[in-house]
Point group: C2
Chain length 833, copies 2
């Protein structure tokens, strides 16, 4: 990437302009054809050739790679669109980002970036000459080389495309708040069968024609997947067009390559169609600029071409072009026989490379002119290297939003509601580069204070009653009942240099497990690519968590996303479990300042005690874990008899209640309470950058005293994180055990043996020789559990002695702070879904 100062591509003066009033000449179309042939040639070359890149000598089997690892099928279609977009971009100076759904088309995107010149700017050893071509070919899908997909290594890419389904979500994410940007998104007809892609067409109800950019979907019907035809290629065209209209688009159909139509003719047809489409978009933009805020019918293109277009139609008597057989490497046995080698050579020579590259192996000047200038090249669009455009958020001082905590447990808040008040101010200060995404749960997760400074963006129909529901044509909150869309939009938004967060019910974040995987892998790889600049972290806020599914039950209980996340590279994942409102504020401020991470923050939304003042919260969060001295009763200079560890808001509450019981009933027992906010602190420093040294770990948890650890999620994770610690054999973890569900909070923790009474029993079972007093207390705890359980079955709510318990320092006077306002008519928006 050149180091020159980035100028924002697409100043308003050039975007959405009409093409110059000049005829579309045959010469221009011939240049487009030349570019297409060059891109196709380079694509085939990357898949097959080790040497002899321009076939300046006869093809020999030693010129062919011994293992052919790549995909041809989708590539010529992608190259076709790229070449034509170049022509249109040159004529209109239209900043354009190219999202290629079928990531298999990697060689094509690399080829175009090379033809653009960007590739050689970024990778200076891949020069614009014959030796550069040889290296370009050799490195592709080769040990020590580059991947076969449209990977982070590919200039111009924000979308690897290996896991299918997210092309349109990413494209829309890129378009939000980029009013001058065109995002051309090729959707493969294989990808179109996935669920996430199928719903992402509806993104057009969430984009504003004035404030946001434009996504141009290009549905590439090449008819086949790996081994099957595609559904959308095998329904009547009238049905397909109904579908596209039903998605709210105006479809334009182009079919080419199935007969012997002259290239000049089909290039002309497609170029004219593209001009019509771009003119329609320009008209919509103009109408929007003039104040029309109705949802426009955006155009889209159905592009029907043969799969593997331009490869040998038939090999060994079997159809390859226009067949699933061209999906991967047609002619996989190119080196095996002279006959196959000849087929390959003939195929390569069909592109007439000598017309395309000069004696030095450089693209001929006649074709070079098709590349747009500078950042108008799609491979050099700065939005595709979002860190270049990233601006720090203006963050209000989170201390100003602190809740008052006169003594530990001395006030009560809904933590996420407090966070929402700070987020409202974040939104106000960052009106064009911060968005909040959620699947219809932002209010349910208690972030509704944000509606004091913004609205939910909604470009479908509005009715008068929507006025009190915070819906508007533009807004910072994006709500759609699809976790896939929320994640995909946010990823696209972040990858193009903006900030955001995704709030979600904890259980259902698993819906995007695999999308998280792909994003984490992207971050891991980009960390190692010098020209890729750091982007803002992907921030999750998981609320409505496993312990408070009173309404919804077992299907809504799953704390395993944390387990899923920690399998990814330690360098890119962070997990936080703030125990109260002030720690949540401090944690989230940290997350919104960070780069290149995935931050998972789990926090309850129900009224719960606050334990730390803001100063204490900041200190605690910056350590990530620590001893809560006020909660224990250690004797100076001695290790305690037992350590109570806790991570998560509900486990922390139960741990403190257990500590209270122990102090009252076994005052001679020396107890330490350790709270963990930053879960990765439990790991060894060799495993995770946040990890604790063994010495520090031993200092906190001791080497030999029993540790009763109350954890938010599946208990095994704590063992996994600590199995190398000296004291690990003494760590006993309580957590969620998939024991099913019940409908009161305390019944729920009892069901999983995470309740205060059971924790006390755990202590008694593990501290030797506590004597008969402890045995009696154990029986008391057993009885108290029984009584609590029976009470719920009789009354339908938790026993008051538990429900109303407060930390003893707080007296009887814990008051609610942080502003819950309740709506008498309904619990919706105030409780779980």
């Amino acid at each position: 990437m050149s180091t020159q100062t980035i100028t924002h591509a697409g100043a308003p003066s050039t975007a959405w302009s009409a093409r110059p009033d000049a005829p579309l000449t045959d010469e221009t179309l011939d240049v487009v054809d030349g570019w297409w042939r060059a891109a196709n040639y380079l694509s085939v070359g990357q898949i097959y050739l080790l040497a002899n890149p321009l076939l300046r000598e006869p093809l020999h089997r030693d010129h062919v790679k011994p293992r052919l690892l790549g995909h041809w099928g989708t590539t010529p279609g992608l190259n076709f669109v790229y070449a034509h977009l170049n022509r249109a971009i040159r004529e209109r100076s239209q900043p354009t980002l190219y999202v290629t759904g079928p990531g298999h088309g990697g060689p094509g995107l690399v080829a175009n970036a090379y033809l653009d010149g960007t590739y050689s700017e970024v990778y200076t050893d891949i020069t614009q000459d014959t030796e550069g071509l040889r290296r370009l070919f050799r490195q592709f899908s080769f040990p020590g080389g580059i991947p076969s997909h449209v990977a982070p290594e590919t200039p111009g890419s924000i979308h690897e495309g290996g896991e299918l389904g997210y092309a349109l979500s990413h494209a829309y994410g890129a378009a939000f708040d980029n009013p001058d940007l065109l995002v051309a998104a090729v959707v493969g007809d294989g990808e179109a069968e996935t669920g996430p892609l199928a719903t992402s067409w509806h993104s057009n109800k969430f984009v504003d024609a004035r404030q946001d950019g434009v996504v141009l979907p290009i549905l590439h019907l090449n008819g086949y997947k790996i081994a099957n035809p595609t559904v959308l290629a095998r329904i009547p065209e009238s049905e397909l067009l109904d579908l596209m209209r039903g998605y709210g688009h105006k479809p334009h159909v182009f079919t080419g390559g199935f007969d012997d139509e002259d290239p000049a003719a089909f290039h002309r047809r497609f170029a004219e169609l593209l001009d019509v489409v771009l003119d329609e978009i320009a008209d919509i933009k103009a109408r929007a600029a003039a104040g029309d805020d109705s949802r426009p019918t955006w155009p889209m293109i159905v592009l029907r071409t043969p799969k593997g277009w331009t490869c040998p139609p038939v090999i060994d008597g079997k159809q390859v072009e226009d067949s699933w057989r061209s999906h991967q490497v047609p002619l996989s046995s190119a080196r095996d026989t002279e006959e196959h080698l000849e087929v390959l050579e003939e195929w390569l020579r069909s592109y007439r490379a000598d017309d395309l590259f000069d004696d030095d192996g450089r693209l001929v000047e006649r074709l070079q002119v098709l590349a747009p200038d500078g950042h108008l090249r799609m491979s050099d669009n700065p939005h595709a290297n979002g860190g270049l455009l990233l601006r720090d958020l203006r963050l209000p001082d989170f201390r100003d939003f602190a809740v008052d905590v006169p003594v530990p447990g001395g006030s009560i808040s809904e933590a996420t509601r407090v966070l929402g008040q700070w987020l409202a101010e974040v939104v106000r200060l960052n009106p064009d580069n911060f968005r909040i995404f959620g699947p219809d749960e932002t209010a349910s997760n208690r972030l509704q204070a944000v509606y004091e400074t913004t609205d939910k963006q909604w470009n479908a129909e509005l009715v008068p009653a929507d006025a009190d529901n915070h819906l508007a044509r533009v807004g910072r909150v994006m709500e759609v009942l699809s976790e896939h869309q929320c994640q995909g939009w946010l990823e696209g938004y972040l990858l193009t240099g903006r900030h955001g967060l995704f709030n979600c019910y904890e259980a259902f974040i698993h819906i995007i497990d695999s999308m998280f995987n792909q994003h984490a892998k992207w971050l891991k790889v980009t960390d190692e690519i010098p020209w890729r600049r750091p982007i803002a972290s992907l921030n999750y806020l998981l609320s409505s968590h496993v312990w408070r599914q009173d309404h919804n039950g077992f299907s809504h209980q799953d704390p395993g996303f944390i387990d899923h996340v920690v399998n990814k590279k330690a360098e890119v994942v962070r997990v936080y479990l703030p125990p109260d409102a002030n720690t949540l504020l401090s944690t989230y401020d940290h997350c919104l300042r960070s780069r290149q991470y995935v931050n998972v923050v789990v926090s309850g939304k129900q009224p719960a005690p606050n334990f730390l003042t803001m100063e204490e919260a900041i200190a605690h969060c910056s350590r990530g874990l620590g001893i809560w001295e006020w909660a224990g009763n250690e004797r100076d200079g001695e290790d305690p008899d037992v350590v109570l560890g806790c991570a998560g808001d509900v486990p922390t509450l139960e741990t403190l209640a257990a500590a209270d019981l122990l102090r009252r009933h076994l005052p001679e027992l020396s107890v330490r309470v350790v709270n963990v906010v930053d879960l990765m602190r439990l790991q060894d420093v060799k495993e995770h950058p946040h990890g604790l040294s063994d010495r520090d770990f031993d200092t906190l948890f001791t080497k030999d005293r029993p540790v009763i650890f109350a954890y938010h999620g599946y208990p095994w994770l704590i063992h996994r994180l600590t199995y190398r610690r000296t004291g690990h054999p003494n760590i006993h973890v309580r957590g969620y055990k998939e024991e099913g569900t019940t409908t009161t909070p305390f019944d729920m923790v009892m069901l999983n043996d995470l309740d205060r009474f059971h924790l006390v029993m755990d202590v008694i079972d593990r501290v030797p020789s506590l004597g008969s007093k402890a045995a009696r207390l154990r029986q008391q705890m057993q009885d108290a559990r029984h009584e609590a359980r029976e009470y719920t079955r009789e009354h339908g709510e938790d026993i008051p002695s538990v429900r109303d318990w407060v930390w003893p320092d707080a007296g009887e006077t814990a008051t609610e702070v942080g502003g819950p306002e309740r709506d008498a008519t309904t619990s919706t928006g105030g409780d779980n879904e």
Copy 2:
């Protein structure tokens, strides 16, 4: 559930018949209205009332539950459809299954099952009288009671509906191979925004009008989600109808409840519409029976009603009916003021319960007649309790498909290809209750032998070239490029009493992580419900696994599904890593015989050595793990110096190669090789039913010798499973570390330090006092790795000494068995996607 013999509902004589030639009378419609009011009354009662179920005394606050936990919004619409279907079922004797997408409508489905009589048959304490009503109300969403959703506890349910998106996939899964079954599937307009639901409309291209049942989608547009309008309710109706037509349906629109239309009138309109729809379906069925195999345009219904229909329109000045405010519990403060209590009482009395229930609290006879007979009741449809209908598979003897293994490593096979030959016979023997599901990967995963006995079912357009692609109107293989659809169809198929497997690339099975969660939870709960009969296990075959993504790279590498799975209840999950072809056969035979589990089987598809004869494989698999004596060189009666553990095919190969190196270079070192097929054997027997006792574990792995464990997936999982074992501190695990990717197999294992050379180095590092010979060997291994790495960068393939290594007993003569046939034209269908 009554214990009478189940007769297959829907003998051909009754299914798809026209309604009797009699007018639809006002009396009948009045009965429908009465049923609807009764169901609505019982729904409201469940949400609110603890006592006084029929309001035979004035409502007092003590009659109202202290915590109101449920959802009203979707319920009246579900009840409306249920009542009308009852009428149609009675008239046509049409076996019908009701799938309710919005699982929040739990109280409605419980209410209808109670009115049907089924509920009292299954739960005998919930009697058909006032006391039974009181219990019915009290138990709902109450500690010790029943969940709020359409959970497994609900008779007639195969679909909990808590995680949205799978209603249609489940419905189609139920319909496959049930030619006489109508599946009425209500799709909520919230759910309709999810990706999985959006693509599942296309299921109609995979259903055969003659062989399969019929899904009638009912898109319930009640307009609102938790806190927002829904997208499909806010696009022009013409666009919505285009969308439904684009999905291949003929839409019928019903709108009711928005004005003061008389109930008799709207009931008549809906009943007539339902008759038209059912007649259209009957016509299609008749045409199909007569031989028409073109894809029909199935009807569907758009049902537009107010959300919360029939609840108080306005409470405290705020709109509730026809608003998101009715989503959950309208009037959540019913107990707080006299005024609110009056609103609730008035609402309850609006259903005129005294007309609906007699003095004893029993549904009046006039309404009872609306319930269809016996299994025609939707709540008693035996398909909804699939274990009742489950027949054992006829399984061919897998021993007959064994590959020949003259000596360990003496032959080479592609394991999944061998499995495919057995599966082909499974398919042949079970032509109507076994299906194979996969996202376009069945051939890529090397199961293509199944196409010798069946085809891929494909009801979209066919072209002549499809003949050699095994596409047909009916077939046992279901391929669509949507893991969500594959999983949803299979779940529906299993839940209705059939068998199947899902083959998938290992990395992308994460796409259905959350669907797996829900199914595992369903199994866990049904294990505890006496009347629910066991169903066939959900079997995964994960191939194209993490170690062989030569083509595809980093995005296609993720072995973490195993980690995800083992968080669920031990009683329902099983994980197998067969190391070769015969063990895979034996494992899969076991899986297809099992019940109520999720079986995860991971197996490679690339040519790899076979180690065990079939007799050995059977013995090994039945133990689940064991010492491979032929691979080690222990001395009798002594613990070995080191244990090499391995799980997974590639790690097993590397472990054996390491054992070979150690025997050759350090013959004095005593080595034991332990292979693990059944991963759950590593756990303690207290944690998992397959777990080993500590004594057995210690016998295999020793208490104090170093264990170098080569594992298929993320290494931490082995620690998680073994952290309680005596010898755990000595266990050192090598596995996948997210180190990125490369394009040759050996380069890939080297990248993650799982290669033979590194394993030898690990041994040397952990066995003390091996002396200078070992130190020299360590250096040799270091050099060998370096040489192997450099070789790939030079040649693009693995160094022959590694690539061609065979276990020494095999000599030089390992031959390929199990029939790979290669296609010279293409590597597609033979390699990775």
